[in-house]
Symmetry: C2
Subunit: 409 residues, 2 copies
């Protein structure tokens, strides 16, 4: 039987390695499992790692399931036409009959083009995609593995920041910046932090809706009359009606680097600076959740982790059964909560981007509707029981790339 | 029996309410327990909350134990001479015989002055301090409640960032900024993130040692020859030999606000900007752990939480037994690990600041010694089993101050 090759691509998540674990668990029962290092670049460069026996130890496998950030390394590589032929040469040279690419919409473009090339050239290599992205912006699937864990981290952190920001007896404005250039799924998760008694965050700005500075300032002043600690959560990609990022606005934080070039600050820092430039008596501060929000495996959603592993297992089963040119998707069959794993043509997913539907965003432009809360809530359910040693989570350690290359060569 | 009044002061921690829970558990068996809102300011303004029956429900008490950020609110208030008399008037008016102040070194100054005033005026009000600070900078105690949990959050987050920062096949410099203006205890905790195979973080800069930009740049270039992903962790308070903060250096990130004033950026952003101004081919980015590091109760250290509660209980026992002018301290009787709770005169602690001993810092100036690792490791031990609902931690919600004021008045 031919070898199975797996690779990871695009930005990492807290559960991307649970999918890898699922692939290995199923595939190693039938064949040799290789991992390409740094995604498709590792295929082109023939940098592989033999995963067949690496995780025979159940403790190692458990550590891998809980490890954040692409264990095999990743890349952002738009495949050039001339590289496609090279990929198939490498497949042939290393006796690879099955290729699984764990990634987001750009990665699905790679899966789509490789599987079409296989069809055209009558190659029998089977190629499929396993979804992964904290952004939750893939088409045809109810949600993406990685989203639930990032959402859980964001909601938890916002809940903790809300408590912390109100301890002093003075007005504060805390602006929390969340990832998401075009889709607001992650930022929306901040709404889960609210409780019956606690209305914060007061403002949730998604990139799907234009941001209006003057209305924002007016609303801040209004809320300050009855609540002294205001929490704003916004997507890094929020723009005004004329397409400007927050950091490009008048009063935003621009700074000058050592070469005298003007550089733009983050969205949260910019909002803070704009508020400071107005006549509002308030202590304002920005918090960027930065890459912590995609790597905080210690507070991953159990459901997300389990689903990530499931979709890895189903992916291995599908490709070994001869499926090609598809991506595994979740179909929600019960709102709260049951899913089925289904298959869709990867061509319908590649390069598409699923944004938050406008009907799930409130008319005021700074909040979301109950439908979106109901959609998100089941995805953050359950706590992982990670491995701990010396008070810290145990994570699988990535193989040194040099060693790995030697091993295969 | 007279009433017991408890208040919280200074910056919050992830376990400060475990101390409050400990105080309530012990004190309500003997007398009425009031909480002053926003520390000593709440005493002066007679803003109290009756805590005696509030946490009779074991679920509520459990939630309080796990809740980050001062439940009673806090303040940074340097007591004026004329306010001291007022405090004692309020004590008298509300039949308060016992006062427990949970706080750091500034708060211990309040405890010291109030207890001295009581002695001078022959008041029989007993006044003691219960330690609290993530900074771990209190004198006379082995460590402070709050430190272990912040250290655990920092070490965990650094471990996760290390994994995330090395996924792409290109050189990166990630600079993580940690709280600590004068003492480097929190920053030192980043060293706990290392493993046998993983040397990152490569640089750990504490404020106790002067920072040398040119040496730093030289060392970055050196390490880049054999490791492509460099992690720097530094205290916000790091300074050069001539006393300048990083953000005041040539090439650091200064930005201009809407009034044309130059504003200083954070230490991490400044280092990143300095690196960008040099001829180094590397993607550099700053991460500020911000107030997440003091409020992340979801990953509190079980040992820290248990000790915070213990010192709250011991504090209530001590003050009710007639002790005054003391703070409860930890004495480590076995390195790994046993402590005793002991008492020290608060006068020896007030306004003092305990820094990291220079003999625990390596001669190279950017790393710490094994002795400090051995000191820190037991403090982050154990995971809390917090309460969870709908996938998120359950925290006790602070009473509305207006309601509280009405309740007592």
């Amino acid at each position: 039987m031919k070898n199975l090759l797996v690779a990871q691509s695009g930005g990492p998540t807290a559960v991307i390695n649970a999918s890898l674990a699922g692939v290995i668990q199923v595939a190693r029962e039938k064949t040799k499992v290789l991992g390409a290092i740094h995604g498709i670049e590792g295929v082109i460069n023939e940098q592989f790692y033999d995963l067949t026996d690496e995780f025979n130890d159940p403790y190692q496998m458990e550590a891998l399931r809980h490890t954040p950030a692409s264990f095999l390394g990743t890349c952002r590589h738009k495949l050039k036409e001339e590289e496609i032929e090279r990929v198939f040469e490498v497949f042939k040279k290393h006796n690879i009959g099955y290729f699984i690419y764990i990634g987001g919409n750009d990665s699905m473009d790679t899966v789509d083009r490789l599987s079409k090339y296989a069809e055209k050239t009558k190659s029998d290599v089977k190629i499929i995609g396993v979804p992964k992205t904290i952004d939750n912006d893939l088409a045809m699937t109810d949600h993406t593995p990685g989203y639930g864990s990032a959402a859980k981290y964001i909601a938890t952190s916002v809940r903790e920041v809300v408590l912390d920001s109100s301890v002093y007896n003075k007005p504060t404005l805390t602006v929390i910046e969340v990832m998401g250039r075009n889709a607001g799924w992650l930022t929306a998760a901040a709404a889960l932090a609210r409780t019956e008694k606690e209305p914060a965050p007061h403002f949730i700005y998604l990139p799907e809706v234009p941001f209006d500075v003057e209305r924002f300032i007016k609303n801040v002043k209004k809320i300050l009359k009855y609540d002294k600690n205001i929490i704003v959560v916004l997507s890094e990609g929020v723009r005004t009606a004329d397409g400007k990022l927050i950091c490009e606005l008048e009063g935003a934080s621009k700074y000058t680097d050592a070469f005298g070039h003007t550089q733009l600050g983050g969205a949260a820092a910019s909002i803070v600076n704009i508020v400071k430039s107005r006549d509002i008596d308030i202590k304002a501060r920005p918090i960027e959740l930065s890459l912590l929000q995609r790597s905080a495996a210690h507070i991953a959603s159990k459901r997300d982790r389990d689903e990530a592993e499931l979709v890895g297992r189903k992916g291995a089963e599908a490709v070994l059964a001869g499926k090609t040119g598809i991506m595994l998707c979740f179909k929600r069959v019960k709102q709260d909560y049951e899913i089925e794993v289904v298959e869709h043509k990867v061509a319908d997913i590649a390069n598409a981007e699923r944004k938050v539907p406008l009907e799930w965003i409130k008319e005021n432009g700074y909040d979301i509707k109950q439908e979106l809360i109901d959609y998100m809530r089941p995805l953050i359910e359950g706590q992982v029981t990670a491995l701990w040693e010396n008070g810290l989570p145990v994570y699988a350690e990535r193989p040194s790339e040099v060693e790995a290359a030697v091993e295969i060569a």
